[in-house]
């Protein structure tokens, strides 16, 4: 099939950037979306132009590196799917596809479709951990955890940190990401000692990074490749409010 691509091209952080149109032919429906971009890049290189820069790594939907907004939807039209697992059979011959980077003040564009997501790392640094040093930990079975709680924890922990929630949110809010981490530890006894501190510090950092606020559109949940439920946001709200109102830290 033949496609028209409208892509965001931007040389570097300070460049203004803009949309550029490319025509691509002989796209096979078996190709993944990123393989289609590989073909485009090969043809650009052959024509002496610079290939389009985009982030990817594992190409099996788990590393969280790929990050394209396709026709206005982060990770494209399939639900519960990262871009790298999106296949071209989802598109029709003659389609025009808009490809843009994640858009958020906290995720500056480094080049073309590549954004800087280190704001997420800094949020984790602020409190997205359990403070244990290596060694000296009790036997793994010393503290039983109800299966239902462990499952809730795992649901939240499956976040791949791709940032699609931010890209999709009309307010570029990171609440689903932060909520997922807070929820993972909230449902485990190991996470309880630091729960108050964790919520306040992560929210503080989230705000400092310039993410927007949650206004409960739930668009994040709709695009999340791991289909993380917005209950994690309710849990984050609860943890934060309880800490602030009781003054515990």
């Amino acid at each position: 099939m033949n496609l028209t691509l409208q892509m965001w091209r931007q040389r570097n952080l300070s460049d203004e950037g803009g949309m550029v149109q490319y025509e691509i032919s002989d796209v096979s429906p078996e190709m993944s979306f990123l393989e289609m971009l590989d073909i485009l890049n090969e043809s650009l290189i052959a024509r002496g132009q610079e290939p389009v820069a985009f982030d990817d790594d594992c190409r099996e939907g788990i590393c969280g590196m790929c990050s394209l907004v396709i026709n206005g939807i982060p990770h494209g039209p399939d639900s519960g799917t990262t871009v790298c697992q999106l296949h071209m059979r989802r598109f029709q011959d003659g389609d025009t596809i808009y490809i843009e980077p994640w858009r958020s003040r906290a995720f500056p564009v480094l080049r073309d479709l590549i954004v800087d997501r280190n704001a997420f790392d800094r949020i984790i640094q602020a409190g997205g951990y359990i403070s244990v040093n290596t060694g000296g930990t009790p036997d793994a079975n010393a503290i039983p955890v109800a299966k239902s709680e462990a499952d809730l924890s795992m649901d939240a922990a499956s976040c791949i940190g791709c940032g699609a929630c931010v890209a999709a949110c009309p307010n570029a809010s990171a609440m689903l990401f932060v909520g997922a981490k807070v929820s993972q530890f909230r449902h485990l006894p190991q996470g309880h000692t630091e729960r108050a501190r964790r919520a306040t510090r992560m929210v503080e950092q989230m705000d400092a990074e310039g993410f927007g606020n949650c206004t409960n559109h739930y668009e994040c949940m709709a695009v999340c490749p791991k289909e993380i439920d917005v209950r994690v946001i309710a849990e984050l709200n609860q943890e934060f409010l309880r800490t602030e109102l009781t003054g515990s830290e």
Binding site: R59, H87, I124, N133, A140, S158, Q184
Partner: protein, 637 residues
């Protein structure tokens, strides 16, 4: 090259304890004075950085990904082994040790494997304390499953995302140390070379992938945790960015490279669908617990799978290996698949696939039970192939998955360059010629959490360290050679893209140094690779410049190293005149086509020493002795 493995004295079970006692310690107040460079943030790298920083060392940690959380350890699905014996089914440290040595086809170092089995239990404790949400039983205790044909249930898992959860645990420990200011993290920064000063590893040269700056970092010791080299085959289950550069550069600076020909081919991957294919997707080995592998008896039978009657199907694993059946180890299953495809009985449009059929299990257990066990895998398969595995059997084919070979290290995980430590998949130590399922995660974390924190202290306490400056000659020279090399890549301005060279190299490697190898093919590869390399340096086209984010340039540097490294692999494969584990030499097989090991001639690790670009590397042997587990023929019949 002196290969002293430094195996401690004493009975096997006490070696690690004895060693820990005898190792020198660094005074807590002095730890701040030592700086460690860690390259890589996977299970081994992140756990090492975090643990070293907790002890008080200053750590600078590099990774080429945009975040430390993205290292390819994250993609491991199945689980992590430990000898906890929670299910009370007879597991023990000794049994895990025994299974690993045997599974590795008797080409691993016993003492290392024993220590790995000992440490396996502490890893689980550590991960649980970090908040890794392992699967649990209704009683609240941890669940275990049997994996990869093991006869005990010793595998801990977190859905199909165990690697992800363990990595996020290590990543969170690392992030905590970054937040405390004990670790300086440098993401999107790629190591280009190793700096050796006075015979010791004292720094690295890196490139900032955003702005293109090439600069040096100095330290008192360097730890490489840079993963495996499976992408030498172009198509593999590795991430697109996984590369051999750090290890290969260390090799060129004098580190011995051990057993490069030991690569693992995983039997259950989604087959290639066309020339555009950029990577292969693994389907968890656990699928073989309930799926039956078959091909048509007749290669010309082109009926749709469900229309082929039982009598016209060949369940070749069940036929050849009646006692293990579909659960034979990875190397055996992969080779058998290749054999039936070579006979022209492969299925699918390419003829390079076999069926993995769940029809019987669905009938026996019901669709719901199968969905419970493999729902996410079936979903993933359908997403990629657009076929529903509940109705049509899956098509699978082996793919390169893991590399057992790596930089040679002694018992302290130190390479032949003093101060250069190598962890995880990047070293060669524990898996011999074939890695068992759910063992890679265990090794990465054992190295990072529980071995390097002790042994690096011993290294520091055993000598004195002159301060080094990044503007001294050794650093400047290494930096210049790395920068010049980048410029040379840009200056070729030829006609072929980097990817096209990488694909061609991959085809050569897969053809001649893949699932089965013979001397003729390997010699042919040794002619083709240098010719391709020569063309690469004459005709590669790397667009863009050096002082900017330039993915073509990044890839070009990695492929240039693969083009050199592929040759070392082939040399090693020629030199190892036996079949063992993932290394199958057609000249060395039984009449029934099974691997034939040569314990007389080949019971060693082959360690390659770089001798300059114009000479072949030289092979040294570290003899392996087996005191506890006597080498026997691995039989799965």
């Amino acid at each position: 090259m002196i290969l002293d493995a430094k195996i401690p004295e004493g009975p096997m079970a006490q070696k690690w304890d004895n060693h820990r006692f005898r190792m020198k310690l660094v005074n807590p107040a002095n730890k701040r004075k030592y700086k460690v460079i860690v390259v890589g943030t996977g299970l081994a790298g992140a756990s090492a950085s975090a643990s070293l920083a907790e002890l008080g060392y200053r750590v600078e940690n590099f990774c080429f990904q945009d975040s430390a959380r993205r290292a390819h350890s994250i993609a491991a699905q199945g689980g992590i082994n430990a000898a906890k014996n929670y299910p009370n089914d007879g597991d023990s440290i000794y049994r895990l040790f025994y299974d690993t040595v045997k599974g590795g086809d008797f080409r691993a170092r016993e003492a290392n494997v024993y220590r790995l089995a000992q440490l396996s239990n502490e890893i689980i404790d550590q991960c649980v304390a970090q908040g890794v949400p392992f699967a649990r039983e209704y009683g609240g205790l941890l669940d275990n499953r049997s994996f990869g044909g093991a006869q005990v249930s010793r595998t801990f898992y977190a859905r199909g995302q165990t690697g992800q959860q363990l990595l996020l645990g290590a990543y969170s420990a690392l992030m905590r140390q970054v937040g405390l200011g004990n670790v300086t993290l440098r993401p999107r920064t790629e190591m280009l070379d190793l700096v050796v000063v006075g015979g010791r590893a004292r720094g690295i040269v890196v490139r900032d992938l955003i702005c293109g700056d090439v600069y040096c970092a100095s330290a008192d010791a360097v730890v490489l945790a840079t993963g495996g080299y499976g992408n030498v085959f172009y198509l593999s289950t590795n991430a697109m960015g996984s590369n051999v550069t750090a290890a290969h550069r260390a090799f060129k600076r004098g580190a011995g490279f051990a057993n490069p020909c030991f690569t693992q081919i995983h039997p259950t991957c989604i087959p290639v669908s066309g020339d555009h294919q950029s990577k292969l997707t693994l389907m968890s080995e656990s699928l073989r617990n309930d799926g039956r592998v078959w091909v048509p008896k007749d290669g010309d039978d082109h009926r749709a799978a469900p229309e082929i009657p039982e009598e016209d199907r060949d369940y070749y694993l069940e036929r050849r290996y009646p006692s293990f059946g579909n659960l034979v180890p990875r190397d055996v299953a992969s080779r058998a698949a290749k054999q039936v495809c070579d006979e022209g009985r492969g299925v699918g449009s390419s003829g390079l696939a076999v069926y993995l059929d769940f029809a019987d299990s669905i009938e026996r257990l019901g669709r719901d039970a199968i969905n419970q066990r493999y729902g996410n895998l079936f979903h993933m398969y359908e997403k990629i192939t657009d076929e529903n595995p509940y109705e049509l059997p899956m098509r699978i084919f082996p793919a390169v998955h893991y590399t057992m070979g790596g930089l040679w290290v002694d018992y302290n995980l130190m390479s032949t360059i003093p101060g250069l430590h190598v962890l995880g998949e990047a070293n060669f130590s524990d898996h011999g010629a074939n890695r068992l399922g759910a063992s890679a995660l265990m090794q990465g974390l054992a190295d990072g959490y529980f071995i390097i924190p002790y042994t690096i202290g011993h290294y520091f306490a055993s000598g004195s360290f002159e301060p080094v400056e990044t503007d001294q000659k050794e650093f400047e020279d290494t930096k210049k050679s790395a920068a010049d090399r980048l410029q040379r890549l840009l200056d070729v301005r030829g006609g072929r893209s980097v990817d096209s060279f990488h694909k061609e190299l991959g085809q050569i490697m897969w053809e001649h140094c893949g699932m089965s190898r013979n001397e003729g093919g390997l010699r042919k590869a040794l002619e083709l690779i240098p010719a391709l390399r020569e063309e690469f340096w004459r005709n590669v086209r790397v667009p863009g410049g050096n002082g900017e984010l330039n993915q073509s340039l990044e890839k070009a540097g990695r492929v240039a190293d693969f083009l050199e490294f592929g040759e070392v692999m082939c040399l090693d494969a020629i030199g190892r005149k036996e079949s063992c584990g993932g290394h199958f030499r057609e000249e060395h097989q039984t009449e029934e086509g099974e691997a034939l090991r040569d314990d007389e001639g080949c019971s060693h690790a082959s360690v390659w020493e770089y001798k300059g670009d114009d000479d072949f590397p030289v092979m040294h042997k570290e003899p392996l002795s087996f005191d506890l587990v006597k080498p026997s023929v691995r039989s799965y019949k």
